[in-house]
């Protein structure tokens, strides 16, 4: 039993067990079901309630119902979108750190001369399309469709390994499940020593 307790306290590389997203390390989690804080269980029961909308007794909700609520063709996202919304629902500054402040106010990001949105406190923009066209336009970015990501045990491109529907998101650099994150980092997919992570995409 003691061994089991110790086991749960040690962060294991390559697994969510013991990672910052393993909330079982807190004494008040009794169920020990590690996935539940982020993933909602599916229920199918009919709701016995005096519903005001009578058509909805078996309604099931979808988390972040519309992935990419902004047009897929929009190269510049004015707001965080897609899978990054999952991160931001907890990382709101109250429940968990909000290192991402949003695309409003603060420092203007520019790719070449095209306005790229505004991000405060040196936050990296997210939810924007990073493709060959952008790298050509910017001049200081590698082409994500040909440049290899350089992630451990991978021979795939940036696009294949790090982008989501051609978009850069929180999960491009952060591995929420800690399956490939570098130990001792903020769940980064690549060590930031020597700015290796930045230089994956930025040709400086």
């Amino acid at each position: 039993m003691m061994l089991l307790f110790l086991f749960s306290q040690i962060a294991l590389a390559g697994t969510i067990i013991g990672s910052p997203h393993d909330f079982r390390k807190y004494p008040w989690i009794r169920s020990g079901e590690i996935c539940l804080p982020c993933h909602v269980p599916q229920k199918t029961a009919t709701v016995p309630a005096p519903l005001w909308n009578r058509e909805l007794t078996t309604q099931a909700f979808v988390m972040y119902g519309k992935t990419h609520v902004q047009p897929p063709s929009a190269p510049v996202m004015s707001q965080p979108d897609g899978i990054s919304k999952k991160c931001l629902s907890c990382h709101d500054g109250i429940i968990a750190l909000d290192s991402y402040g949003g695309n409003t106010g603060g420092i203007a990001y520019r790719f070449d001369k095209d306005f790229m949105g505004i991000v405060p406190n040196n936050n990296h923009p997210i939810s924007f399309i990073y493709d060959t066209a952008l790298s050509t336009k910017d001049g200081d970015l590698y082409d994500p469709s040909t440049k290899l990501s350089g992630l451990t045990n991978s021979t795939a491109t940036i696009n294949a390994d790090m982008l989501f529907s051609n978009r850069m998101e929180c999960a491009s650099c952060h591995d929420v499940h800690n399956t490939k994150a570098v130990p001792g980092t903020k769940l980064l997919v690549k060590d930031s020593a020597g700015s290796a992570l930045c230089l994956t995409c930025h040709n400086k």
């Binding site: 309630a49 519903l51 909308n53 909805l56 909700f61 988390m63 972040y64 119902g65 709101d92 949003g102």
Partner: protein, 355 residues
């Protein structure tokens, strides 16, 4: 001389503009919950993201004479509260309280300074007397500001709190949730002394919000247990509302909560991007909002408040067949619509199905 003539002619043109009645645009279709032909209970009314959404127009003449007005905008609104004539927003981007003056149609920051400076504000509550109570995670205190926005006093200390994230006030009691201590504190409003704490036995898992109902019952969002816990004014546990799940009535990322004068509980869910309404027995009645960027949709919502005092300010946005009873404000952390205003009311038009 030529310049003066130009200015004069501009003035005449501008004044002329002011007298030309604008062609009324066709009103957008009303967004009801539930949608017609069912009997609607709630209507989406308006979004406020900046000063220009408050309806104060700058005439062309004013712009010509004084230059374009610099509007104040909301940044990342988290919590919201209201009293007569005012809405207060706890804005996480500015880490300040934004005061929306509905009468003067303007926005400004609550001028916290000196000993009353805010560090890292999280939750806000406003009493009927317009006393503002703000939970501050950095100061580990609750700060109070009077009806003129002057600093009044603090509650608690670094010894008492770890991470006070929200506050609610009822009568002589102040309720504070501490997310790190996992406790609900009940303080005396006069003395600031702790009357009781709830949660020492691990009852809560990251409690994030607190609100009180019309009879003084206390509702705590037990965020990672995915339920709302209900307590008597003395802190006696009365039951839970909701469950962890994707079925209607369930929660995935519950946050702000508010109770109307009939005891109906409103709960924001940031993952489903909606608000669910429960009756005073905890039974689900309705949900509204939903993911998207359209009018009435929510975008990573967080805070909610019910407002009985300012309905008249928003009646003009309501359908002629829909009589407003009170307002519901919901904050969105992102998206173009920062503060969504809904009206709870009743249908007074032609007969529709539903009780």
């Amino acid at each position: 001389m030529k310049k003066k003539a130009f200015i004069l002619s501009m003035l005449i043109i501008c004044m002329g503009c002011a007298f030309i009645p604008e062609k009324p645009a066709a009103p957008p279709p009303a967004i009801f919950y539930p949608a017609l032909p069912q009997r609607p209970r709630l209507q989406f009314l308006h979004s406020i993201s900046g000063e220009s959404d408050l309806g104060k127009q700058q005439s062309a003449l004013q712009e010509f004479l004084f230059g374009k007005r610099h509007d104040q905008f909301l940044g990342k609104p988290y919590d919201v509260a209201a009293c007569k004539g005012k809405i207060y927003i706890m804005d996480r981007m500015y880490k300040k309280i934004v005061v929306i003056d509905l009468t003067g149609k303007k926005m400004s920051f609550l001028n916290d300074h000196g000993i009353g400076s805010l560090g890292d504000p999280a939750g806000i509550w406003v009493s009927e007397e317009d006393i503002k109570y703000v939970a501050d995670m950095q100061r580990k205190q609750v700060l109070a500001f009077d009806e003129n926005d002057h600093f009044l006093r603090t509650y608690g200390s670094r010894e008492m709190f770890e991470k006070p994230v929200d506050v609610a006030v009822y009568g002589k009691r102040i309720y504070v949730v501490d997310m790190d201590k996992e406790q609900l504190f009940i303080l005396d409003r006069e003395t600031g002394q702790v009357i009781r704490t709830v949660g020492e036995k691990g009852e809560f898992f990251k409690p994030s919000n607190v609100t009180v109902g019309p009879s003084g019952n206390v509702f705590v969002t037990d965020a990672f247990h995915f339920v709302i816990k209900k307590f008597s004014p003395d802190g006696k546990f009365l039951g839970t509302i909701g469950f962890h799940g994707d079925q209607i009535g369930g929660f995935a990322r519950p946050k702000g909560a508010a109770v109307d004068k009939n005891g109906r509980l409103y709960v924001v869910d940031a993952a489903f991007e909606n608000v669910q309404i429960f009756d005073d027995q905890g039974r689900i009645l309705l949900f509204f909002g939903g993911s998207g960027t359209g009018p009435g949709n929510l975008y990573l919502p967080a805070g909610i408040a019910v407002d009985d005092n300012n309905t008249a300010c928003f009646q003009k946005f309501a359908d002629p067949n829909f009589k407003l009873e009170y307002l519901v404000y919901v904050t969105n952390m992102f998206g173009k619509n920062m503060l969504d205003v809904y009206g709870f009311g009743h249908w007074i038009g032609e007969s529709v199905p539903g009780k």
